[in-house]
Structures are given as structure tokens and as C-alpha cells.
């Protein structure tokens, strides 16, 4: 029995307690303690141990162990007296077994060792016995010392979860799913920024903008963003007074990224910065500080306190500063030229990589101005934005495991974020990529095209207005998900939803465009043919292309037909005026009056009636005066340019000129037109 006496008493705390538990709670101090007594209720649940079977089995086990010891002693020749002593002892023990207190005292010191031996010898027998009480063991322990138990379990649970995630992910997911919502809410409350950074790589900066918001609000936003404004951007730029030349110049500046900064969101300190060589270096820290202050200011001024609004773009002289914001840091890119759609995606990809690779160690969160802690890979990632601002990282669509970073975070926070993304991780990735590709293709962004995946098939559903667009959507989708088979279920909408809306939108575009060129243009919508017919004055074909392009983009317009008045006669021109003005604009002078003078000089027999018109705004009295005054002014200008005043008669009317109705834009009526008299 040497091994037994050497064993320090109670060396295994948990087992000691187990024993205590056996003796004090479940084994009754009666004649037949471990036998048939009805089970004492424990929390109303029948104790497993108190069944006959369990008690008996445990007793048997212990006896077995003693038996082995006895046999060993017998086999040892030096221990000769054993032969007589053992049967006696055995009987004694057997008796003691019936008294739990005695039994306890006897077995307590050796219990651990016995158990170890038994486990080594025949674990299958121990397991069912312990299995009956293991839950109670843990329960009791957790009641007596929660921290100790937590400490022990903490070391194995992460491993257990990751193993289970690998083997039976569904079970884990089902188990934790119900608590996810609450857990996330709590985490958002505790540390919003940590949550933003955790989700940023999958959702992008939408998360910081809309966290805590209901989904419908997101939809509103998205709809606004994709309104018709997008497609007429080109035109609207001109309406804002940017001349053709300027626009051409602007388009001609190649997009270029001057500098990229990764900035700590709270302090505005520069975590990393890269700049084009050769160019004048920007003062990174000053710029970063100022941007951060502006961002704080903008957030402070945000009118709706529920929104965490984020400033994402600043125009600065001929530079643009484009920002992409995550939880603890943001990227600011100083750019020139119009940024291509890809660029914002690239920014997002870069920020995602940085967060995935470095965010979870607290580097970004706790950045304290010491750039020695910033790994080289961060500036390398940023440099990518300089040298290849539009080259996207190919979305990886093949199987990929839940990112380690997410998994660690999941366990650390107690929020297993993989719940949605685990099983459908790869599918989600593809769908996201396709969505993004479609959203960044201007011609497609308008139509709610929905990608879906079934097995290896990528399905596109939704409605587009033309077969061309349907094709284009398919091509764009396959480009980002080349491993999938495309099932293009996009419907080409034959009958547009609202012909009146189309006609109105087309008319608005056409007239505004006409105003820009100083000529009258109108459009009609031919519903059966889905054609737009544009009519109006003489315009060079290349001048009108932007209009036809824009018109073709309107859903429900299949083709645009130009029936422009080929009459190049300068007498057919109309001069347009600003409201309440009689001043001839310089471009009207050069483009219309001067050719007219040349024409009149070449045709000395022609006499002109000059007719002034006004719009319907303003009082009739003023307009009555204004109309002939405009004609007068034009006559004077012609005389000044060398035309004999006798050839020019004047008239004025407050009625709109021919072809202009009351529903047309007002400026069309503020004109002077000419009529040849002989």
C-alpha cells in the first residue's frame, strides 16, 4: 500500500469534493445506505446518483479496486502474512462500506489514487459511473467557487468552440443564435467602435453610419443615392455653370492619388502615410489633425442625433480628400481628377485588410503616436492605393474558413459574429462582390438587380429597361464571380411603368440642355415604340450627343430620334434673355447676331420684323413694356453692327412665341425672334 500512503491527502481538490458530495448528500446514514433508499429530491429533480443502480455500481467499483490490491499483495512472496489478513480485512471493509461515514474516512485519503488506477485500467467502467453525476459535480463546484471553475473552463472552451465549429457548425450556430441579437446590442452599447471595426471588413462603413438604425432607413438612403441624379451628373455639372471647356478639362485630368494617410480617429495622429514621390510633400500631421477636427465638428453639427454621420469627402482647391472610416481609424486619400467608381471599393478593401490583419491586437485602437509599433505591412497596403488606385483585389470565392481574427474576436467578446457568415460565408462574399460591381456600374446602379446563389449557379433577378443592360449586368456579374454559372433571369421591361413620368423627365432634360446651348429643344415620348423624339433648332450633332446619351438612360426609353431643324438660317434663331432683362448676353451676340448681320449684308433686300416676347412671370404692365423694349435693344444692336434701321421693324407681345406653351420652361418665352418681311 506504499503508493497510497505517499499520496498527499486531498491532492485533487475536485475529487475530494466529489467524495464529500457522495457522503454528505446522497448516501444515507442507514443500514443500507447506498442501496435502495428513495432518491432525495435535489431542486426537484431526481438525483441520478440515488438510484439503486448507480450506488451499487460505485460500490462494486471500489470493491474491485480493493480486490486488485489484495491480489497484488498475495502475489508478493515477501508479504506472507497477507494471506491470512486480507480475507478478514475484506470482510471488515465490506461492513464499513455499509456505513458511509466510516467508509468515507477510510477511502478519502486513497480515493484519488484508486480512481486514477481504475481509470487507467478500465476507463469504460468509470465513465458511465461518473457520467451520472458529472453534471452535479460541475454544478456544485460552480456554486462553491465560480471563479476557479471559470478559470479552468476558460482554457478549454475556446478550443472546444473552434473544434465544434469545424465539426458541427450548425449546432454551434443554433445554440448561440438566440442570444446574438442581445449580445450585439449590449456590445454596441459598451463599445460602439469595437463593434464597427469588427463588422467593418464585411459591411464597410455603412455600419458606422447606420448602426442602431432600422433597416428601412438604410433603404431610404440607398434609394436617394441612386436617384436619377446619378445619370445626369454630366448635365448637372453644366447647369452649375461649368463650361464645356472646363468640363472637358476636368475629364481630361487623369485620376491620381497624391497621398494616402491612415489616421487615428480620436486623436487625429497619423498612423501611417504614403505620398507620391516627386510631388510636393503634404504635411501629413497637420492635414490629419485638421481633417479629424473637421470630422468631429461635422459629427457634432449633425442635426439628427440618432445618426452618427460621417464626413466622407472634402473638396479642397483642385484636390479632393476622400475618406473611408472604420471604428478606430480612417483612411484619407488626397486625389486629383474624377475618382473612378472602383476607387472607393479599393479604399474599402484596403481598410478592411488593415483591420483584419492588425485591428484586433489593439494597435489601431490604442495607437499613441509611436510609429515604431506600426508594422511595415500597413504602409505597403496604403502604397497600393497610390500605385494602383483602381486595381481591385479579386474577391475570393472559393471556400475559405471563417477568418481567424473574427473567430478570436467572437470568443473574446462572447459574440460569435460568424453566425450569419459562417455557413454562407463564401456565398455572401460572392453576392457582396456582385452587388458592389453592379452598384458601381453607372448604367446598372439604378435598377434593383438582385444576385442570388443556388449551388454553383449565380442567379440575377430584377428588371432592366433594355436587353443591352441585361447583357451588361450578366457580364459584370460574371467578371467578379467567374467560377459560377450564370442564370440571367433579369426581365427586360417592355412597358415602362409610367409614360407620363418618362415624358416629363425627358422634357425637363431636353429643355435644360437646350437652355445650356441657347436653343429651343423639346421632346415627345412615343409610347408604343418607346421612342423619344427630340425636336428643335439647329445644333451640331456632336453637341447633342450628351443629351441623347442621357435620354437613353431613362428607363423605358429604347431609342432617341433627333428631328432637329436643319434650317441654318440666322433669321430662325431666337435670342434669349435673363428674367426682367433687356441685355443681350455676349454669346447671343457672337453666336446669333453676328451671323445674322452677315446674312443681312449678303441679302440686302431682306427686311426683318423683330418681335420681343416676355415670360408670364411679373405683372402684365411691366411685360407690356419689356416685350417691345427687347426688340428695340436688338434693333439697336443690329444698327450698331451696320444694318440700316429702315430694314428693321419692331414689335412686342406678352404672348409666348410659336411652339412654346405655358407648360414649357419660362426662359423659352423670354426671347426675341425674327420674321422675314418680304
Amino acid at each position: 500500500m506504499s503508493t497510497v500512503t505517499e499520496s498527499p491527502q486531498g491532492n485533487d481538490f475536485a475529487l475530494g469534493e466529489l467524495f464529500q458530495f457522495l457522503t454528505e448528500k446522497d448516501v444515507r446514514p442507514q443500514g443500507h445506505p447506498v442501496a435502495a433508499a428513495p432518491a432525495p429530491a435535489h431542486n426537484g429533480v431526481k438525483s441520478a446518483l440515488a438510484t439503486d443502480e448507480a450506488g451499487e455500481r460505485l460500490r462494486q467499483l471500489l470493491l474491485d479496486l480493493l480486490d486488485i490490491e489484495a491480489q497484488k499483495a498475495k502475489a508478493n512472496p515477501e508479504n506472507s502474512e497477507g494471506e491470512q489478513v486480507w480475507p478478514l480485512r475484506l470482510r471488515q471493509l465490506e461492513r464499513q462500506c455499509r456505513d458511509p461515514r466510516v467508509m468515507g474516512q477510510v477511502i478519502f485519503p486513497i480515493f484519488a489514487v484508486l480512481l486514477q488506477k481504475k481509470i487507467a485500467q478500465s476507463p469504460e467502467e468509470i465513465i458511465p459511473a461518473l457520467a451520472l453525476i458529472i453534471d452535479r459535480v460541475i454544478e456544485t463546484r460552480s456554486l462553491s467557487d465560480r471563479t476557479a471553475l471559470s478559470k479552468v473552463l476558460a482554457t478549454v472552451i475556446p478550443g472546444a468552440i473552434s473544434k465544434q465549429l469545424g465539426e458541427a457548425p450548425n449546432e454551434v450556430i443554433q445554440a448561440i443564435a438566440p442570444a446574438m441579437g442581445k449580445a450585439i446590442t449590449e456590445q454596441v452599447r459598451l463599445d460602439r467602435d469595437a463593434m464597427v471595426d469588427a463588422l467593418y471588413p464585411v459591411i464597410g462603413n455603412t455600419i458606422s453610419k447606420y448602426m442602431g438604425e432600422v433597416v428601412s432607413q438604410i433603404n431610404d438612403r440607398v434609394e436617394q443615392t441612386f436617384s436619377l441624379k446619378g445619370i445626369v451628373r454630366r448635365l448637372s455639372l453644366r447647369w452649375q455653370g461649368i463650361s464645356d471647356a472646363e468640363q472637358i478639362l476636368r475629364d481630361a485630368i487623369p485620376f491620381r492619388v497624391q497621398a494616402v494617410f491612415l489616421i487615428h480617429k480620436n486623436s487625429g495622429l497619423v498612423i501611417a502615410d504614403v505620398q507620391q514621390s516627386g510631388a510636393q510633400a503634404l504635411e501629413a500631421d497637420m492635414l490629419a489633425g485638421m481633417l479629424t477636427a473637421i470630422r468631429s465638428f461635422a459629427a457634432e453639427c449633425s442635426t439628427d442625433p440618432r445618426h452618427q454621420s460621417e464626413l466622407t469627402k472634402i473638396d479642397y482647391e483642385d484636390f479632393q480628400i476622400i475618406m473611408e472610416v472604420a471604428g478606430y481609424c480612417y483612411i484619407a486619400a488626397v486625389t486629383q481628377g474624377d475618382p473612378p467608381g472602383n476607387f472607393s471599393i479599393k479604399l474599402r478593401q484596403t481598410l478592411s485588410s488593415i483591420i483584419l490583419n492588425h485591428g484586433y491586437g489593439g494597435l489601431l485602437e490604442q495607437f499613441d503616436g509611436d510609429t515604431r509599433r506600426v508594422p511595415d505591412s500597413i504602409p505597403q497596403l496604403l502604397r497600393e492605393l497610390l500605385v494602383a488606385p483602381t486595381v481591385l483585389e479579386k474577391p475570393k470565392v472559393r471556400r475559405r474558413p471563417l477568418p481567424v481574427g473574427l473567430l478570436i474576436l467572437l470568443i473574446l467578446l462572447g459574440i460569435p459574429l460568424g453566425w450569419v457568415y459562417y455557413r454562407h460565408w463564401q456565398k455572401q462574399q460572392v453576392i457582396l462582390a456582385v452587388d458592389e460591381a453592379i452598384a458601381t456600374t453607372p448604367t446598372l446602379a439604378l435598377y434593383g438587380i438582385r444576385p442570388r446563389i443556388q449551388g454553383e449557379t449565380l442567379i440575377l433577378t430584377g428588371k432592366v429597361p433594355s436587353p443591352d443592360l441585361r447583357e451588361e449586368a450578366g457580364t459584370v456579374a460574371l467578371e467578379v464571380a467567374p467560377k459560377f454559372v450564370l442564370d440571367n433571369q433579369l426581365l427586360t421591361v417592355v412597358a415602362p411603368p409610367d409614360p407620363e413620368a418618362i415624358a416629363a423627365e425627358a422634357q425637363r432634360l431636353t429643355q435644360s440642355f437646350g437652355q445650356m446651348l441657347g436653343t429651343m429643344l423639346t421632346s415627345r415620348y412615343d409610347l408604343p415604340h418607346q421612342q423619344l423624339i427630340v425636336e428643335g433648332g439647329a445644333i451640331a450633332p456632336e453637341q447633342i450627343t450628351p443629351l441623347t446619351e442621357s435620354l437613353r438612360q431613362i428607363p423605358g426609353v429604347q431609342s432617341v430620334i433627333l428631328t432637329l431643324n436643319g434650317d441654318p438660317s440666322p433669321t430662325a434663331q431666337r435670342l434669349y434673355f435673363n428674367p426682367n432683362s433687356t441685355v443681350i448676353a455676349p454669346q447671343e451676340q457672337t453666336q446669333k447676331l453676328e451671323p445674322l448681320v452677315a446674312y443681312l449684308q449678303a441679302n440686302p433686300n431682306i427686311r426683318l420684323q423683330i418681335i420681343g416676347h416676355t415670360d408670364t412671370s411679373g405683372t402684365e404692365k411691366i411685360n407690356q413694356r419689356l416685350a417691345p423694349e427687347r426688340a428695340e435693344v436688338v434693333k439697336a444692336a443690329l444698327v450698331q453692327l451696320g444694318i440700316n434701321g429702315d430694314r428693321l421693324a419692331i414689335a412686342g407681345t406678352i404672348a409666348p412665341p410659336p411652339q412654346v406653351t405655358e407648360s414649357d420652361a419660362l426662359w423659352l418665352s423670354r426671347c426675341v425672334r425674327f420674321q422675314v418681311l418680304n
Binding site: H264, S267, L269, D285, M290, A293, G369, T371
Partner: protein, 172 residues
């Protein structure tokens, strides 16, 4: 060459001399004109460090915040990520001194681990008796608070000292 950057903020009532202290420290200039700061102005000053440290220089990014008025409180978001703050009061306006406590609370509320240096500014306007009295009557014996320093942006008294002492504390 190892450079570490730190953000510090200037906090205090309007007109106490926050902007003037920065100007003195960074540009070595002073002006009697009062141009009230609107929003935030950021300045930078590189403070060389003695060669004992493994850091060669400290780049201070100094955020000059709009002073607190009756109508407008200091925006706490600007204080975020600031390792230290210089709380400034004007010795000729006692209410600015009594507001020091509010500014301390605001800063420590945002940044419990940060450091504060207190500047009692415009001391050139006091005679030496008044200065001594002030020095003795105002004590802030609390952790993470330095000073009060009797400063003058006009004469330059204690200006470098207060900034560099705060800077060094933030590095420890």
C-alpha cells in the same frame, strides 16, 4: 531617428491667452491683438529630447480650441485621443480661475489617464506680491495634474517650461 507624436489640447475660457501661449511657444511671437479662435486650430512643434531616451524627438500636435463662453461649452469630442491638456486661466479674471475645475473634470471625463498642466496666464499684469499670493493660494495636489504655472505669453515666462514638462510626462 525616432519621432513620437502626441496630441495635446488647449482648454480654458475665451480670451485667457490659449492662442497666445501657442504662438509664443511655437513662433516665439506675441501680439496684443485679440483674434478669438473659432473651432479648432492645429499647430505643431517638435520638441527635441535628451539623448537618454530611446525616442529622439517628440512631435507635439497642439489643438487650440475655441474658448468656453457663457453660450458655448467646449466640445468634448475634440479632447478625444489627447494625451495631455493645458488648462489656461487669466489671472486678471477670477471667474476664469474658478472654471479650471470644470475644465479638469471635462478632460478627465474623456481621458482618465491623461495629464493636465495648469497655466495661470498674463502674470505680467500682476506685481510680484500678487504673484506670490496667487502661487500660495492655488494648489492642485492631485495625481496627473502639473502646476499651476504662472505664465505669461507676453514675456514668455514659464511658457516653454509648461509645454515641455507636460510633453515629457505624457511620454512616461
Amino acid at each position: 531617428m525616432v519621432t513620437v507624436s502626441k496630441k495635446i489640447c488647449m482648454v480654458g475660457d475665451f480670451g485667457v491667452g490659449k492662442t497666445s501661449l501657442i504662438r509664443r511657444f511655437v513662433d516665439r511671437e506675441f501680439s496684443d491683438r485679440y483674434l478669438s479662435t473659432v473651432g479648432v486650430k492645429i499647430s505643431r512643434k517638435v520638441v527635441p529630447l535628451p539623448p537618454i531616451d530611446d525616442i529622439d524627438e517628440l512631435k507635439l500636435l497642439i489643438w487650440d480650441l475655441e474658448g468656453q463662453t457663457k453660450f458655448k461649452a467646449i466640445t468634448p469630442t475634440y479632447l478625444q485621443g489627447s494625451s495631455g491638456v493645458l488648462v489656461v486661466a487669466d489671472v486678471t479674471r477670477s471667474e476664469t480661475i474658478s472654471h479650471i475645475e470644470d475644465h479638469l473634470q471635462l478632460f478627465f471625463g474623456v481621458n482618465p489617464q491623461g495629464w493636465v498642466a495648469i497655466a495661470l496666464n498674463k502674470t505680467d499684469l500682476l506685481d510680484s506680491d500678487e504673484q506670490t499670493y496667487l502661487q500660495n493660494s492655488l494648489q492642485f495636489n492631485r495625481p496627473h495634474i502639473l502646476g499651476p504655472y504662472l505664465t505669461s505669453a507676453k514675456s514668455g515666462d514659464n511658457v516653454d517650461q509648461i509645454f515641455t514638462t507636460l510633453a515629457k510626462k505624457m511620454l512616461d
